[in-house]
């Protein structure tokens, strides 16, 4: 049901520019106003959210350790520097692996229950499907985003954009060059989507807001592929428009056809939606206190900004006052010998 809602939403979103450009002739509105506004919402929303996180305190160092810590004897007990970092540099590498290789997800296992011969068996096996789907999806998306820089840069720097395009199109299939990343993105989204639809447990925890971005990104990918391989849009005219956007000299050439406006509108929706959604996991992964802190809180002093110095232990003096008599009876030493004298005796 949630998936259907999302699909329906995205259909409606496609209809808006189709109608708006073809019937209502709002070319400037869809070519300039919408993308600019969406970009502003994206930037401000993104920064606002990251600043909100940044203003929230990190009172304690709480890294989740995934291996042996740095022991008193590093040779006898070899530290797992990547999963249990103790210095800034080690933590940096842990984060690099986390962000670029999805290391935690790589660890994933799947549990299954079996009827053993005479007793039950719980089995675990490595399960890298989610890692594979996710990494395909994210890298393809990333490469496509970088490739799009050619539309916004003049001249186009060969590194990284030109080189990337060369490698990405290395399997030349027909003309224009077929990009691997286009395939990867569609495959990644479809696989992630199928997983959400087919796996009953994942389906159970999925909201509209989980399906929607997937359908949206799929429609963006498909509209882009349609423009490039089938409609063969006028790329020179598009570059005129995009360069206009970044140089604030807005032009909307007549040669641009409606499929481009659909693509741009969907991208705009994604940008505007981004800061309010779970897509913020992108900047969030860098800030996670269980991953981005060295595991050194027993060796180094850290400060909790709201640590309350007024909270103190129950004073020993009160403890001794309360239990002094029995303590004295069994011969436990007392700070104040009077505490060891029973009350009625002190009175007497």
């Amino acid at each position: 049901m949630n998936a259907l809602y999302s699909l329906l939403f995205v259909f409606l979103l496609v209809l808006i520019p189709l109608f708006g450009v073809d019937a209502a002739h709002m070319r400037t509105f869809f070519g300039v106003c919408i993308p600019t506004t969406a970009f502003i919402i994206f930037i401000i929303g993104f920064i606002y959210k990251v600043v909100t996180w940044g203003r929230s305190a990190v009172p304690f160092r709480i890294p989740t350790t995934g291996g042996q810590f740095q022991s008193f004897d590093p040779e006898l007990f070899k530290q797992n520097k990547l999963d249990c970092p103790q210095t800034g540099a080690q933590t940096f590498f842990r984060m690099v692996l986390e962000v670029f290789a999805f290391r935690s997800l790589f660890r994933n296992t799947a549990v299954s229950l079996h009827e053993g011969k005479d007793h039950p068996v719980v089995a675990y096996k490595s399960s890298k499907w989610l890692w594979l789907f996710a990494i395909t999806f994210h890298y393809s998306f990333f490469i496509i985003a970088l490739r799009h820089l050619r539309l916004f840069l003049e001249p186009i720097p060969f590194l990284p954009v030109g080189a990337l395009e060369f490698v990405d199109g290395i399997l030349q299939i027909g003309a224009p060059v077929m990009y691997l990343s286009d395939l990867g993105l569609v495959a990644g989204v479809v696989l992630l989507l199928s997983r959400r639809l087919i796996n009953p447990r994942i389906n159970y925890i999925s909201y509209v807001s989980d399906f929607f971005p997937l359908f949206l990104i799929l429609s963006i990918a498909l509209s882009g592929i349609y423009m490039r391989y089938y409609a063969k849009v006028d790329i020179i005219a598009i570059k005129e428009l995009t360069m206009g956007l970044v140089t604030f000299h807005y032009v909307v050439p007549e040669a641009i056809t409606v499929s481009f406006f659909v693509h741009v509108f969907l991208v705009s929706v994604l940008m505007a939606y981004f800061p309010f959604s779970k897509l913020m996991h992108m900047p969030g992964v860098f800030l996670s206190p269980t991953r981005n802190l060295p595991n050194d809180s027993r060796a180094k002093h850290h400060v909790n900004p709201w640590n309350d110095p007024n909270i103190k232990a129950h004073p020993y003096a009160e403890y001794e006052e309360e239990f002094g008599v029995p303590m004295a009876e069994v011969g436990l030493p007392l700070d104040n010998p009077e505490n060891g004298v029973p009350h009625d005796e002190t009175k007497a």
Binding site: F72, Q79, A134, H281, P289, T290, R298, Y316, P333
Partner: protein
């Protein structure tokens, strides 16, 4: 215990397919057995006197009642408390925003594996809180409530929190597998802080908390009784080894203050571990003292809120100062060590007295820079260093009747990274050591299902379900290698793993690591022992005349 199904029946009842109704619509079972008893009002009244404003009104109530007697402004209190904590903990704020519900954590929780209840999937457990966050604090959640899985704080939501956030042992296994490191333990801690504000609590946590504050230990053992118990253990050690060990209590002027969880003073098998410490220290002629005032390493405050955690922890430094100790040696305990490792110095470091120094073993001279800030050393680090320097004469064959595996306690494993030291110690004190399957040990270790204040009998079925992953791994090595003892470094483990093993892997006993050290420790040249620390005969020394058999349950 009688209405708990047999192990194979329970196993067959596990179904990983979620129900047809959405999770928000699926009702929560409030029948007895699904919750721990609420705290006795006098315990709350006492703590409210010590740390006012954190507890709500002390009262009698039961989760099975329709009316939980919440204070009239409960909703405001919880929502405002939530808002306040979003600012105080980046972890909370971030983890509310960035979960993508990928489900990598879903089958990592021992409670989910043993129950199949989807609300025990860490992602959904956290959604109980996230849904409220979105509904109360985010624009998108307020406008598109249904589409974003948002809801506002209502009584049934809070009641659901009570059930499920007291079905999380804060073991952090999910956090290891989360691509963003989202830590359900953090959220459980926050949810519990909020529930405490309106008086939703459990006695199994609050009674230890108030006891720790008054008597120094969670069992409420008063100082003279504590001394009696220790003396009793000294007698037992003499019985086993012929050696009368020193057991200094509350003595000033010693170099080291030794603090261990009081669970080890109270019941077996913990007492054998405690006897192990005493024997080891006496053998080394260690300049140390224990304290009745700081007689608890375990910090039940960490199951309630930050304020109590700090207050109970503060005792350690306060007592080190009073007794003039230079550094602290800590016994085998799970959450005590998470608190010591991750929180102690940040909370209480500035209350250390000037005489404290980085721990340095007086026997080997090793300086433990790993503990330079807290000045507190883990006993397995201390012992591993002794073994490395050949300072202990060990006869591991005394443990030859034992086939040993090691249970990594969650907190030292995932909260510290202490994995190798206990293994090193064990491998030197016993000849037969076997690892459980890799997906169930080290950083991937499974909880005993009784951590974070849940080791109480009223939720025994939940505990046994949660114990399935650990119990099943144990059963595996029991069959493969004849394992008959599981060693651990946590006092809660020593209490909770016993019913768990009896249920899932009958025949396996539980012991602390230093019990096995004590068995193997050769006190003097040519020393012959005829029994182990439990006063059971070592192989070859069984008394043939002894026809005593243990009484059956019916007789006892």
């Amino acid at each position: 215990m009688s209405d708990i199904p047999k192990a194979d029946e329970l196993f067959k009842s596990i179904d990983y397919n979620p129900p047809l109704s959405g999770w928000m619509e699926t009702p929560v079972d409030f029948s007895p057995g699904h919750w721990c008893y609420p705290a006795k009002p006098e315990k709350i009244a006492y703590m409210d006197k010590e740390l006012p404003g954190l507890w709500g009104e002390p009262r009698q109530w039961l989760p099975s009642d329709a009316d939980w007697k919440l204070p009239p402004n409960w909703r405001e209190t919880v929502v405002n408390g939530f808002r306040e904590r979003l600012k105080k903990f980046r972890s909370l704020q971030l983890f509310m925003d960035i979960c993508v519900r990928c489900g990598a954590c879903a089958d990592k929780c021992h409670y989910f594996i043993g129950s199949g209840d989807p609300k025990n999937m860490p992602v959904l457990r956290a959604e109980l809180m996230r849904s409220v966050y979105r509904g109360e604090f985010t624009l998108a959640g307020k406008i598109l409530s249904k589409f974003t899985g948002s809801r506002v704080m209502e009584e049934h939501v809070l009641k659901e929190w009570f059930i499920y956030f007291y079905q999380c042992t804060q073991c952090r296994r999910c956090s290891l597998f989360c691509p963003y490191g989202i830590d359900t333990a953090e959220m459980t801690m926050m949810a519990r802080e909020l529930m405490h504000l309106v008086g939703l609590n459990t006695n199994w946590i609050m009674e230890p908390v108030s006891n720790c504050n008054i008597t120094g230990n969670h069992l409420g053992i008063q100082p003279h009784a504590f001394k009696d118990i220790v003396d009793f253990m000294v007698d037992d050690i003499e019985e086993v080894t012929g050696r009368r060990v020193k057991a200094p209590l509350n003595e000033k002027g010693h170099e080291i203050l030794f603090i261990t969880p009081s669970g080890d003073v109270f019941a077996d098998p913990g007492i054998y571990t405690f006897m192990g410490y005493l024997l080891l220290f006496d053998y080394l002629d260690l300049d140390y003292t224990m304290s009745t005032y700081a007689s608890e390493g375990g910090n039940f405050g960490s199951f309630t809120n930050n304020e109590v955690m700090k207050k109970l922890n503060a005792k350690m430094y306060a007592e080190a100062e009073r007794l003039g100790c230079k550094w602290i040696l800590g016994g085998e305990c799970g959450h005590m060590w998470r608190v010591v490792h991750q929180y102690m110095d940040t909370m209480n470091g500035d209350t250390q007295w000037s005489g404290m120094t980085t721990p340095k073993s007086p026997i080997t001279g090793t300086v433990f820079n790993t503990a330079a800030a807290t000045k507190m050393l883990h006993i397995t680090e201390f012992t591993a260093d002794l073994i490395k320097h050949n300072k202990l004469k060990l006869d591991p064959s005394r443990n030859d009747h034992l086939r040993v595996t090691f249970h990594d306690s969650c907190n030292p494993a995932r909260g510290m990274g202490l994995l190798e030291e206990p293994r090193y110690v064990l491998k030197h004190v016993c000849n037969n050591f076997f690892e459980m399957p890799p997906a169930t040990i080290r950083e991937q270790t499974f909880c005993c299902a009784g951590g974070s204040g849940l080791n109480t009998d009223e939720i025994m079925e939940i505990r046994l379900r949660g114990g399935l992953p650990r119990g099943n791994a144990l059963r595996y090595v029991q069959e493969q290698h004849g394992v008959n003892l599981m060693a651990c470094i946590c006092a809660i483990d020593r209490a909770t793993l016993i019913p768990l093993a009896d249920y899932w892997a009958p025949g396996v006993t539980i012991a602390g690591t230093h019990e096995l050290v004590a068995n193997a420790l050769v006190l003097e040249e040519g020393e012959v022992r005829t029994m182990d620390m439990r006063q059971e005969p070592l192989p070859g020394f069984e008394d043939e005349e002894d026809d005593w058999t243990p009484p059956t349950k019916e007789e006892a």
